[in-house]
């Protein structure tokens, strides 16, 4: 069977033009998708059944027992952490937040080690963003700053920027200028009209220099700024100022390097300066599929986008204190529920060590690094393949994913709903 308009469940692009051929519960081929999409759909490495660790060995268990034991672990804990949420759909994320409130837990999503600093900056100075459709149809200058879309978002350039024509950009190849700013040459920088190579940790200074030039204070810019020549800074500023519509996309090169949220704040304020002359927007390159949705869900229920602590009986948010890495580093939480993510692979080792020392339960379709740290793992259906649900694209557009076939695995809502019921029953 050939299914059209399938939504990819891998990265934040949520490409919705895939054509997937299936036979029973097997994916035969994926058209229009990138390598990541093809691997996601054709991958056949699911955990077959729930598992639990007893003493020094793993054993098979049932969904009933695994769910009951998960609820018991969470109810016994004084400072539980509910982490992850980006690989699942918003209906499951909603259940997670309500369960965190019942438990007095901390709930955090993967933006804590991704675009959390971007959100902190947006809370300070706002977000002059737009949808990817606007970029595709209008932008004649594209800036990728600290991002390598060819490796991380392989179809971003071909669907929305460099290689696709738009309504007001009839010939993208001729009319769109691409600027890449990075600390190293990448496949993305190879195809840029202008590659700005910054010394590591120097982004804040380069952003400031560009703001000075745009504000007419360029005569104060020194000969080089963090490895970038004054001449190139003026050239980049001129390209941006002569744009009819410019779009900045930034990645973890800004959020994870020195300055963190302040880098993003400076980039947003550069965008604001440019808007005094022309139209410019700025958007984060969200990586993990529905991470944007987790920020939306957390915010519409609690008022805060991630790192929400319910231990006071109200929602409390303080990055650096209630963020997962800090909680785990301080060895503060005494149980952890991981849903649709892999902190074992993506947190510093000290955090992984603490996850191994407390009862950690993982709800995830696949064996990953966190599996080895867990006491229980409950496999679920993969959203967008054998489960349907709503997810948010990196530009904040919600898209309903399709279910291609049924496999018999319960989806995240089915499993979390049962854990939630047990918690609610115990809490009264």
């Amino acid at each position: 069977m050939r299914i059209e308009d399938v939504v990819c469940p891998f990265c934040g692009c949520l490409c919705d033009d895939l054509v997937v051929s299936v036979e029973g519960t097997k994916v035969l081929s994926v058209e229009n998708g990138c390598t990541l999409a093809t691997e996601k759909f054709t991958g056949d490495h699911r955990l077959a059944h729930p598992i639990r660790r007893t003493g020094g060995a793993w054993e098979k268990t049932t969904y009933d027992d695994a769910i009951r034991e998960t609820a018991e672990i969470l109810l016994d804990a004084e400072r539980p952490l509910l982490y992850g949420w980006s690989g699942t759909f918003v209906e499951a994320q909603t259940l997670g937040v309500h369960m965190a409130e019942l438990l007095g837990a901390v709930i955090d999503n993967t933006s804590t080690v991704c675009h959390g600093p971007s959100i902190m900056a947006i809370q300070e100075v706002g977000h002059p963003g737009c949808t990817l459709g606007q970029v595709k149809n209008r932008a004649d200058v594209i800036v990728y700053w600290g991002a390598n879309p060819i490796e991380a978002h392989p179809r971003h350039m071909s669907r929305y920027t460099t290689f696709t024509d738009g309504f007001f950009v009839k010939s993208a190849f001729r009319e769109r200028k691409v600027i890449v700013v990075d600390i190293r040459e990448t496949d993305s920088s190879e195809i840029a009209d202008e590659f700005v190579k910054v010394t590591p940790g120097g982004d804040y200074a380069v952003l400031t220099a560009l703001r000075m030039i745009v504000r007419g204070k360029g005569d104060l810019v020194p000969a080089t700024v963090s490895g970038v020549t004054r001449e190139q800074l003026f050239r980049v500023a001129e390209i941006c100022l002569s744009a009819r519509f410019g779009a900045i996309f930034f990645g973890l090169g800004l959020t994870m390097s020195r300055g963190k949220s302040k880098n993003i704040r400076n980039a947003i304020e550069l965008t604001e300066e440019l808007n005094r002359h022309t139209k410019f927007t700025i958007s984060p390159m969200r990586g993990h599929w529905n991470v944007y949705g987790s920020n939306e869900v957390f915010t519409w229920i609690t008022g805060y986008p991630y790192a929400v602590d319910f231990s006071r009986g109200i929602a409390f948010y303080n990055p650096g204190e209630t963020t997962s890495v800090d909680l785990l580093r301080r060895k503060e939480c005494d149980a952890c529920l991981v849903v649709a993510s892999d902190p074992g692979a993506h947190f510093p080792r000290a955090c992984a060590e603490h996850l191994a020392s407390i009862p950690t339960v993982q709800i995830d379709p696949h064996v990953n690094a966190t599996t080895h740290l867990s006491r229980i793992q409950i496999p679920v259906a993969v959203t967008g393949i054998d489960a349907e649900g709503t997810a948010y694209r990196m530009d904040g557009v919600p898209i309903r994913t399709r279910k291609l076939f049924s496999t018999g695995y319960p989806d995240d809502v089915a499993v979390l709903g049962r854990v939630y019921s047990l918690v609610k029953e115990a809490k009264g």
Partner: protein, 129 residues
Amino acid sequence: MNFLMTTGRTIRQGSYVERKNTAPYRDEASCIRMNPVDMFDLLVEEGDAVRVTGAGGSVVMRVRPDPMLPRGLVFVCLGPYANALASPWTHGTGMPDFKTVPVSIEPTTEQPLPVSALMRECGGMPYED
């Protein structure tokens, strides 16, 4: 020798991200890319093992030349090998310094561990599927 390590995504890391118990994932995630002149200084060739040590710990990786990297900067794709080196301190931001990790690198005769063995070192129990 001392270097600055940066991290990021690669297509291969993304392709194998749901198969972390496999050799192709281990090979990609435990690969450290560096400028060929730095490799010359370290007296290592492509595929040689090196022990990399950072504030968060120490781990064995294999070297791959990458002339696109400037001297003194090494690249490891995000994953448990890179994160074995990162400090958990976030300076009050919630975000560790994943992109700028000072590391020291020396040749070794040891081999990179599989992900499950890395997690055992963290106190976990390997699950073999």
